[in-house]
């Protein structure tokens, strides 16, 4: 039971991270590899807000959300918009976002140094609950609630609001969307902002969950994020949620029953099987090729 809950907690963070990833891919067809750098940066920023700003953990979350959104706008502006009309936009976008991620990580190193950082002692409330005989901290509950709330909010926004309709229109066909009066550039920018804001919150929650922030934490979750969005179905939001939870659970149980050194084989074994059997992912739609 304890393992099940742990799997859900970590899985919800994976899902939140992956949803940001898949949002950009699903709507804009671009893989933003600066996303993991946002994840790492926000963890450091979150720690600094608590440590120096004296904010409580919860007050830091919205600020980090805004921080992520701003970084997302920068990423779109610098790494993606200049490339949008190029024939090789796909490859070039990958590389330019890798470059931007490298710059971001270098800046983190400048400001925070190369060492692992932690939240100041006493920043976590030590309230604990007992659920079906398993220990759950308040922090873990908050992680789950925040993740789920953001995902529900995002789903509502994409399916019900005007902005969300614009996003889906751009996803279908950017040219037609433009002809019909959708401001494609603005929708694109907002998509990046939301995506990075989600990634940022995921970064802080991750840092809270394990109480560390490292420069390499983005790279560590990057592979998992990629696996999750493939398993769930590229561009599918509920797919990323399910994929994230699945991966969280698989990891926790793999550690317990097989050994920690094989964890990544589980994730990628799963990924590989899915790709072979159902390339569009669990919940992805198969794109019809145009002739």
């Amino acid at each position: 039971m304890q393992q099940l809950l742990n799997g859900i907690f970590i899985g919800s963070i994976y899902a939140l991270f992956a949803i940001g990833f898949t949002l950009v891919f699903g709507i804009l067809d671009r893989l933003n590899l600066a996303h993991p750098a946002v994840f790492a940066a926000s963890a450091f920023v979150g720690i600094e807000l608590v440590e120096r700003g004296g904010l409580s953990l919860w007050a830091a979350l919205p600020i980090v959300f805004v921080f992520g959104a701003v970084v997302g706008l920068v990423i779109e502006r610098v790494a993606f918009r200049p490339l949008k009309n190029r024939a090789d936009a796909h490859f070039a976008g990958l590389i330019s976002s890798i470059a931007l991620a490298g710059m971001l990580i270098a800046l983190l190193q400048w400001r925070y140094g190369p060492d692992t950082r932690r939240f100041p002692p006493g920043s976590f409330p030590d309230t604990r609950f007992e659920v079906f005989g398993a220990q759950v901290t308040l922090v873990q509950v908050v992680i789950l609630v925040v993740s789920l709330a953001l995902m529900v909010g995002l789903t509502y926004m994409v399916t019900r609001t005007r902005l969300g309709r614009g996003m889906r229109a751009v996803a279908e066909n950017p040219t037609a969307a433009r002809v019909l009066g959708v401001n494609v550039d603005r929708v694109t920018a907002v998509t990046f902002a939301i995506s990075s804001a989600l990634g940022a919150v995921a970064g802080v929650l991750f840092a809270i969950n394990v109480n560390t922030a490292q420069l390499g934490m983005g790279a560590a979750i990057e592979l998992k994020g990629l696996a999750v969005i493939i398993v769930g179905g590229m561009g599918s939001l509920p797919g990323a949620l399910i994929g994230g939870l699945l991966l969280g659970l698989a990891e926790v149980f793999a550690v317990q029953y097989i050994g920690s050194s094989w964890v990544n084989v589980i994730a990628f074994g799963l990924l590989f099987v899915i790709l072979l059997l159902r390339p569009q992912g669990l919940l992805g739609a198969r794109k019809v090729r145009e002739v």
Binding site: A89, F91, A99, L223
Partner: protein, 603 residues
């Protein structure tokens, strides 16, 4: 003097070889990150299996042989199940493979696990650069061979490449295997240089670095990976030399430079090197050595036989129950209002779309499960409604790809500089030049296809389709976007092709031109054939007039269509059409919006 820079130079060579393993697939438009896995497998198996009781250099050579075989084998094993994946999906699947390899090797005893495996240092700067030169030579000779062009065509437009008769699956797999072998070479050389290899040397970061090197250098020119590796290796060295302190500044500047290169040099560093565009040489003295000819069906033999052919898209009957026979030498015009199913019909005939029911035989090939490239090989060639040119290739290269089916493979002979390869390439060039001349594009042979005007692009598509010496030529709205002078010229071209014995099936909205050009007109409406026959009969058919202009009752006078038809038909009979005989009538087109082709498959 060289000693001082030996380490840097060796790493440039190693980095370049690894980047070539990415280049090998990027040139075919495939994004793979599995090379780290191939390199890892090769490094460990090569170092582990190489005999210990021979001298250093033979041991290295044996290890290289083992490593390259293992890498190629790994590519086959990974490639067969994943070749249907595209773009990012392929990248992530191959990345998954590389990660799995890393974790498995990490948990093996013979690899030394995380501690790694000790390997003697055998590799010298000279050896590394020799290996690099061989790899670069391979890709240099590949560039202008038939095989190299086919890979580039697949990168630019896979569907069009298929229609030119290129077996995309086999070519992609071949590119993948090359990548595996080159990555294997890199793995072994790396192992014999750094003394100690661990599975973590071939992780995700390493794979991304290899990809970045290849893209920064430029993935469309064979020198790209070398330039990329030089750039990636020298930038940190220069920073150290000029005294930039370690820490955050170095990675920051390196990333910044990478960003600048990718944003401002679209073709990578290699785009700084001017690229010679090849032109057909004027001396056509050895004209005897032409391309392999094709036996065309004699006039009157059936070329296309359709029986009850239907296509449904989820309840929508795009085409239903079409029976049609086209005989050799005919010029058949397929007309009908928008959405009548014309394009679906020709897509079925050319094998791009399998029919839902009914049967079709085209040049002796049964349509349905036959792959597109086989149908092309039987002698079918086509153009597309929305131009599907190989955009970043020159006009001449586009047509050379079109000649894929009638030219002979030249890559292996080019590696050995055999004169026969040169002869074959020249013959293909002449064929391409002739096709360009025929459509009047000789002057623009060296221009990139994407830089041509719309009308020129349509003509280039026709030249490309002609290059394969087809028996059946299918044109999908060839005159779209042409003015009446150009359309009249196109009409003359089509008739001259028919005189050469080609059978032609073409869709066109310019009814005047169709009536003037064709020997037979087939009218499609709501997926069914409503009329078929000689141009003037069809133009007078009440059913056709109704399909185009609505009910015939309120149209007491002479319909514009019929009038146009009459003048067109007489003009065709007289043989000297005034340029304005072809009125650009597009009935049924009003109020429809053809969205441009925005299929975003980047690979």
């Amino acid at each position: 003097m060289l000693d001082q820079y030996a380490t840097t130079l060796t790493f440039i060579a190693l980095g370049a070889i690894f980047a070539y393993s990415f280049y090998a697939v990027l040139i075919a438009g495939q994004l793979s990150l599995g090379q780290a896995g191939f390199a890892s497998l090769a490094a460990f198996s090569g170092a582990y299996l190489a005999p210990a009781d021979v001298a250093d250099v033979p041991a290295l050579l044996i290890a290289v042989a083992i490593g390259m075989s293992v890498g190629a084998l790994g590519a086959v094993v990974l490639g067969l199940p994943t070749m249907h994946l595209r773009g990012v999906f392929l990248a992530i699947a191959t990345l998954g493979f590389a990660e799995a390899v890393r974790v498995v090797l990490l948990n093996q005893e013979w690899t030394g696990g995380a501690q790694g495996l000790g390997v003697p240092r055998v590799l010298t700067v000279g050896m590394a650069w020799t290996a690099l030169a061989l790899v670069a030579y391979w890709f240099w000779r590949m560039g202008r061979s038939r095989y190299g062009r086919a890979l580039e065509a697949i990168r630019e437009d896979e569907l069009a490449a298929r229609s030119m008769g290129i077996d995309v699956g086999r070519h992609r797999l071949a590119a993948f295997i090359t990548a595996g072998a080159v990555a294997g070479l890199y793995g072994v050389l790396y192992a014999y240089y750094v003394r100690l290899i661990a599975p973590n040397d071939f992780d995700f970061v390493a794979a991304v670095e290899g990809l970045v090197t290849a893209v920064v250098g430029g993935s469309t020119m064979f020198l790209g990976p070398l330039l990329g590796s030089g750039f990636q290796t020298i930038v940190p060295e220069i920073q150290r030399a000029v005294g930039v302190e370690a820490g955050w500044i170095r990675p920051f500047l390196a990333s910044l430079l990478l960003l600048v290169v990718i944003l401002f040099l679209p073709g990578g560093l290699a785009s700084l090197i001017p690229r010679r565009t090849r032109m057909p040489s004027g001396d056509g003295d050895d004209s005897a050595a032409g391309l392999a000819g094709r036996r065309h069906p004699a006039a009157g033999e059936p070329v296309v036989t359709l029986a009850g052919l239907s296509k449904e898209y989820g309840g929508v009957h795009a085409v239903r129950g079409v029976d049609l026979e086209i005989r050799a030498g005919e010029v058949v015009g397929l007309i009908g209002p928008n959405g009548a199913g014309k394009t679906t019909l020709v897509n079925m005939v050319s094998g791009l779309v399998p029919p839902s029911s009914g049967s079709a035989t085209v040049l002796g090939t049964t349509i349905g499960s036959t792959p597109v490239h086989r149908i092309a090989a039987a002698g079918v060639s086509r153009t597309f409604q929305h131009s599907k040119l190989f955009n970043r290739l020159s006009a001449l290269e586009n047509v050379l790809v079109g000649a894929h089916l009638v030219s002979r493979p030249t890559f292996l002979r080019r590696l050995l500089w055999l004169p026969s390869a040169r002869r074959d390439e020249r013959a293909a060039l002449r064929q391409a030049a002739r096709c360009l001349e025929r459509v009047g594009l000789s002057e623009l042979a060296g221009s990139r296809a994407e830089a041509l005007s719309y009308g020129d692009q349509r003509r280039l598509e026709i030249a490309r389709a002609l290059a394969s010496d087809p028996s059946l030529l299918i044109l999908d709205e060839p005159a779209a976007g042409m003015n009446h002078v150009e359309a009249a010229r196109l009409s003359e071209l089509i008739r001259s092709l028919a005189r050469d014995g080609l059978t032609i099936l073409f869709i066109e909205h310019n009814v005047g031109m169709v009536l003037q050009t064709c020997t037979r007109v087939v009218v499609l409406n709501f997926g069914e054939v409503i009329a078929s026959g000689a141009p003037d009969e069809v133009a007078a058919d009440p059913a056709v007039i109704e399909a185009y202009l609505g009910s015939a009752d309120d149209d007491a006078g002479e319909s514009p269509l019929a009038g146009d038809a009459r003048s067109g038909a007489t003009a065709a009979g007289a043989g000297d059409a005034p340029p304005d005989a072809v009125a650009n009538v597009r009935p049924g087109a009003a109020g429809t919006l053809d969205t441009p082709d925005t299929s975003r498959d980047a690979t």
